[in-house]
Amino acid sequence: MAGEGAVACLGPWGYVGAVRLPEPLRRYGLGAALGLALGAGTFTFVYGKGISYLTNDPAACANCHVMKSQYDGWLTGGHHGAATCNDCHTPHDVIGKYTTKALNGFWHSFYFTTGTFQEPIRMKARNRAVTERRCRECHTAMVAALVGDGTGNEFSCVRCHHTVGHGR
């Protein structure tokens, strides 16, 4: 992910990864924008129920209307009784889980408030990798025979199962 317009991102638990800078940061410069970002992001995080990120209740995600279509899709989808949003969108381990939540919570709040995100919302590489891992964790038995070649050269579940979470 690192590259032009990217910075190393420090999460609450230290170095997490490189994050592509959003358009306003690239445009107005890092320093000036960061203060604004933190302010706006924190504000939304609190008022806009960004705290939802810390719960496991899918309805909480739908606090943001831009998550509504996923929520609606999930309600009627095959995983409704099986997996919540966070089951697919946050890592299993505790640190990874809250790092992801914090990062997503912060950035989503930021984007939501500034309205600068691109639509339709598309899952980005970091979150995609999280989700791909989550499929394999729940469906280990089912797909053991497919992904067990140990090369790490595995292919994407979502390539075929792009509709599982909430349809499209």
Binding site: V66, F112, T113, P120
Partner: protein
Amino acid sequence: VSIFERKQEAREPYFRVAEITDTTVDPSVWGRNFPYQYDAYRRTVDQIRTRFGGSEALPRTPSGADPRSIVAQSRLEEDPRLRAMWAGYAFAVDFREERGHAYMLLDQTFTERQRAAAQPGTCLHCHASIYVAYRTAGGGDLIKGFEVINPLPYAEARKLVQHPVTCIDCHDPATMRLRVTRPGFIEGMRVLMASRGERNFDVNARATRQEMRAFVCGQCHVEYYFKGPEKRLVYPWANGLRVEQILAYYDSVGHRDWVHAKSGANVLKAQHPEFEMWNQGVHAQAGVACADCHMPYVRVGALKVSDHHVRSPLLNLARACQTCHPVSEGELQARAVRIQDNTYRLRNRAMEALVALIGDLEAARGAGRSDAELATARGLQRRAQFYLDFIEAENSMGFHAPQEAARILGEAMDYARQGQVALRDRAFRPNLP
């Protein structure tokens, strides 16, 4: 914008501040109730070019006869073979890339085609907000008004309208539901459905919402002709929407648009059959409507509204395509352009074949061969030319139905080359559909 406003918006989509009725033509009045749609609607003045679509803004010196200071690029200059194809018809004089809806009335009024031939009021059916004018002229009756305005000289009819297509042409003012207001389409759908065994089809009563998202466009983006001295606008769909079905219709009523100046053949001009071609593609089969790609949803705060800046989806790939195709914009662009490039190459081959046949016919005529001797080849020119023009005139360069576009161009070559054989061999019996 603060988050308070966002939550607010979700609950209160719009206020009806202005009264709009079934006679409110002026879009700025509607725009007071629906500012997002109106603002976007006005942006159809933008001119940006894509590889095969959009349009280029070319400056010109305004004249008395044509006050436009900006026009779109000339397609005749881009490909002079078009002049050979249309020799003797007004299209050989002036034919430009089409641009946004904002220009439709202007471009129609001032195209040189107006001066090359006398045009009737019928033209306005698709270039103006004419719904209210029809109703007024018909004393409340839409169809009657249509019949009154069609035969008027263009200049006279032109005085009855002021706006390009506006809100009232696609929307019911009371409910904002989509509706079709164009007699040509209403009657065209009736004959089409009759050919499929459904009598007295009433499109406004029967169409689903999703169908309406294509039908409002099908009001104008279709092949058409002017029937008889009353210049009635007719969509030639009595046998179906495929090119051979349309040609069969024209053959059955003995219609020709003009006599080709070089070859003497009775030929036809195809015009923007987007609706017909879209119907042959996998998108239509999957229920994807024009508005899904050309007016995709765009979020304004908490609201989702249809982007009334109708334009090339290639200028708007994320919204126009990514909702359905979860791949990058670059990849989507590549898929579309590959289809278009393939079509374009084949179109050029077909153009070569047609121009060769026209050249042969011209030579044979010059050599004094009789009409009887030329009849078969002329018939083949009529067919080849209509097929080729069907794709040439269709504005997506094959995207709306890639396989069908290639099929039609392929057949066009078959007919054109058979015409060349026929000219050289009187015993030759062509293979028609």
